[in-house]
């Protein structure tokens, strides 16, 4: 570890948290309809799509529209992937994707997961990347923010029957937030060396006399939205470790910022919408503290290096397997931690080769439900669920009906929240256990011993939590994992989002009570620490036994010099 490494982490936090305040205010203005600089375009979209922008939706309508929109988009992507051979922009003549892999990939991008069971250079055409994957990156990100907007609105007033209009939210978020930032970021990426071309692979005759075919493509635009929308699906197999996705330390810093920016801005936006900014700052503080602990832990573990490598005679300047020279250890670990604290799942260094404790950090951040700061939108509505649990626990201790932001939290809301959380746990632990009981599951593992268990646990965690990163040695294109993880992604997204929308509908209808002397204040440090405690205890109690069998066992065995 070096002072410079810690300074880099501090710099990332300063840039992200500093931007969260103006960006949060801007997002609140977008969601409240006060941003109008592209109004003619917006109106044209509504007119062409037949959207009545004045129509407000009940939570049921919002949920139905969300499911329908997602399902139609899933079908379109499935068709594009199957038929890509016949579609334009396919200079490498890539064949259509096989059904099970196309199913897995279409689910993966519909749910904002971007799990990649395919090798993009060889299995996805430029046309499918643009028409399919890039568009999904925009829409699934905007849909996540829209769902968060619906939940936020539920707390803003009493006696509400509606939560907003899904199509209007998606259009406005895309037009005023995602698109402008991505275009600016993509220009910088191209200037830094990220390709934007349809010319197919380049052929080079190297200095040593070999012929090198170099994969290229229209990368820059997808790279920008992939990070800003916390999608994470790489244009290349090596994701953001590939020099054409992430050519310099500065693009690495920008991509880390893009990954975290909306996640930290949304609680601030929530504070603006509530007209009670301290509430938003409290949620943001909890997110930031968890992420900071993760960044510190992963950096310390990776900087210490791999003991076997040091014993074999290499220097102790960190664990470099799977990492890129231009980034170094702190920038690599911070990128991957940011991508797993959110639902992004992009990587600039390969987690399968992280030290056991270094790799446990991304795994545990996902298991905590991705709230540090979480995926765009999903992070906010997930931490609101944890806030409900926190006031519920606090209420139990004093024997009082808990309330959050003036809304009484009763049995119905807590039951729905518990249902949402338990569905995820069931998929992660059940899926891991069942897979490891099959020959197919065991055959997918790239490494033996406890690390093999970690690979499978990581895969099910990543899919269920809609993250998309992997311990990438896992061979995921099998019947078991294509369909199994596909189901996990679907339930992880929608079996979580729909109960949350139901909670929002239920809370929206309740009156907004003014704070009384008996109200537990949710805007101060006491609440922040209670919230962090609830998140860590809930995540820890559910997953620590499994994590002990994977990363922790590997750590002890590695210290004892055992290899597999």
């Amino acid at each position: 570890m070096t002072l410079g490494g810690w300074l880099y982490i501090v710099l990332v936090f300063a840039l992200v948290l500093g931007a969260a305040f103006p960006l949060g205010r801007y997002i609140a203005a977008i969601l409240e309809g006060r941003v109008t600089w592209a109004r003619p375009v917006e109106v044209a979209v509504y007119r062409l799509a037949g959207v009545d922008e004045k129509r407000a939706m009940r939570w049921q309508d919002y949920a139905i529209a969300m499911l329908l929109l997602s399902f139609i988009h899933f079908l379109l992507l499935y068709a594009i992937l199957r038929l890509q051979y016949y579609l334009p922009f396919n200079p490498l003549h890539i064949q259509g994707m096989a059904p099970r892999l196309a199913f897995n990939t279409a689910v993966s991008f519909t749910t904002n997961t971007n799990w990649q069971a395919y090798a993009p250079e060889q299995q996805v055409s430029y046309g499918a990347q643009m028409l399919g994957l890039t568009v999904h990156n925009f829409i699934s990100a905007a849909a996540g923010i829209a769902a968060a907007a619906a939940v936020m609105r539920a707390f803003c007033a009493g006696g509400l029957s509606t939560l907003g209009n899904l199509y209007v939210d998606i259009t406005r978020v895309t037009l005023y937030l995602l698109l402008p930032v991505c275009i600016i970021a993509a220009v910088y990426l191209v200037w830094s060396g990220v390709p934007m071309t349809f010319a197919g692979n380049a052929t080079a005759h190297t200095l040593s006399g070999a012929v090198q075919s170099i994969a290229r493509g229209p990368v820059a635009l997808q790279e920008a939205i992939k990070e800003f929308g916390t999608n994470g699906g790489g244009f290349f197999n090596a994701n953001a470790a590939h020099p054409f996705e992430n050519p310099t330390i500065w693009t690495n810093l920008l991509e880390t910022w893009l990954t975290l920016a909306i996640g930290f801005a949304l609680p601030i936006a929530f504070g603006h919408m509530l007209k009670d900014k301290a509430q938003g700052r409290a949620l943001m503080a909890a997110m930031a503290i968890i992420l900071a602990l993760g960044c510190a832990g992963a950096y310390a573990a990776e900087a210490a290096g791999n003991p076997l490598q040091i014993q074999a005679g290499a220097t102790a300047n960190g664990n470099w397997e799977g990492k890129e020279m231009r980034f170094g250890i702190p920038a690599s670990t911070t990128f991957d931690v940011a991508a797993t604290g959110t639902s992004c799942g992009a990587v600039d260094s390969f987690i399968d080769s992280y030290t056991p404790l270094g790799g446990a950090v991304p795994l545990f951040l996902m298991q905590l439900g991705e709230v540090a700061p979480g995926g765009v939108g999903s992070g906010l509505y997930t931490i609101i669920v944890f806030a409900l649990f926190s006031v519920f626990v606090a209420g139990l201790m004093v024997g009082r009906t808990p309330e959050y932001l003036g809304k009484k939290v009763q049995a119905k809301e807590v039951k729905l929240a518990m249902l949402a959380v338990l569905v995820l746990t069931g998929f992660i632990l059940g899926g891991t256990a069942l897979s490891l009981l099959t020959a197919s599951g065991l055959g997918s593992l790239a490494n033996a011993g406890p690390h093999g268990f970690s690979e499978m646990l990581y895969g099910w965690t990543s899919a269920t939590e809609n993250n998309g990163s992997a311990m990438a040695g896992l061979s995921a294109d099998t019947d078991l994992l294509d369909y199994g993880l596909g189901a996990a992604m679907l339930f992880g997204r929608f079996a979580f989002m729909i109960p949350i929308l139901a909670i929002a509908g239920s809370l929206a209808a309740k009156p907004k009570l003014p704070p009384s002397p008996g109200t537990f204040p949710t805007n101060g440090p006491l609440f922040v620490f209670l919230l962090i405690g609830v998140i860590i205890i809930l995540g820890g109690l559910q997953f620590l036994p499994a994590d002990t069998l994977g990363p922790l066992a590997e750590q002890f065995l590695l210290q004892a010099g055992k290899t597999f």
């Binding site: 070096t2 410079g4 300074l7 979209v45 799509a49 309508d61 139905i64 929109l69 139609i72 379109l76 090798a119 250079e121 643009m130 028409l131 568009v135 829409i139 998606i170 698109l179 220009v187 191209v190 200037w191 060396g193 390709p195 934007m196 071309t197 349809f198 080079a204 190297t206 200095l207 040593s208 070999a210 090198q212 075919s213 170099i214 994969a215 290229r216 635009l221 290349f236 090596a238 470790a241 590939h242 020099p243 330390i249 791999n306 290499a314 102790a316 300047n317 664990n319 890129e324 020279m325 170094g328 390969f350 399968d352 056991p356 490494n447 033996a448 690390h451 990438a472 040695g473 290899t563």
Partner: protein
């Protein structure tokens, strides 16, 4: 029925977004970038006598003692830029240890006794890492200088001149782009 009512807006939004964000935007943006930054937009390709010799951003495999060498690559064949990826071997993997030991021995044999930088004997994340650490490059200097019959001090100075250092002392790493270095070496010899 409610779902039917949502059918038209849902389908229309998706088609509209697909045409605008999936077709018009990438085409227009590619056109603009091809005009504004043609070198970068096409993959930062270097040419010598009209032929492409590689990309400054993509590592290549250098063989022979007269060249500085890149890091190990997990790709097959090594530095196959039509693909990308890491070894994905666990820290506790016996296979990783079995790769490390001969690499460390080969490094010592080529560049003499002394410290072996961990980054020089481990595979990168992309398998296409164009850079090596400054420490690694400086360890390679005497052997490369000897193979080219150049003064060690001159090669050493070239490495330090081409090296990139962290901005403000902490953003980034000390490293050298190997293709740039080897090209500069050939020019140094030509002079």
């Amino acid at each position: 029925m409610a779902p039917l009512r949502e059918l038209r807006p849902a389908i229309s939004i998706i088609l509209l977004f697909t045409l605008a964000l999936g077709l018009a935007l990438p085409l227009g943006f590619t056109g603009a970038m091809q005009l504004a930054f043609p070198f970068q937009a096409n993959g930062s390709l270097l040419r010598q006598h009209g032929a492409v010799i590689g990309s400054t951003l993509i590592g290549q495999n250098f063989t022979g003692a007269a060249y500085f060498t890149t890091r190990p690559s997990a790709l097959s064949p090594t530095y196959n830029a039509a693909q990308s990826g890491a070894s994905n071997l666990a820290p506790s993997s016996a296979a990783l240890l079995a790769q490390l030991r001969p690499r460390i021995a080969a490094y010592r044999k080529a560049y003499g006794p002394g410290p072996v930088p961990a980054d020089a004997v481990t595979a990168s994340g992309s398998g296409l890492d164009p850079d090596i650490s400054l420490a690694d490059a400086l360890r390679q200097v005497p052997a490369v200088a000897a193979a080219r019959h150049l003064p060690v001090a001159g090669v050493d100075a070239l490495v330090r001149h081409l090296a990139r250092y962290p901005a403000f002392g902490f953003i980034g790493t000390d490293h050298v782009n190997v293709l740039e270095l080897n090209l500069a070496l050939e020019h140094l010899e030509a002079r």
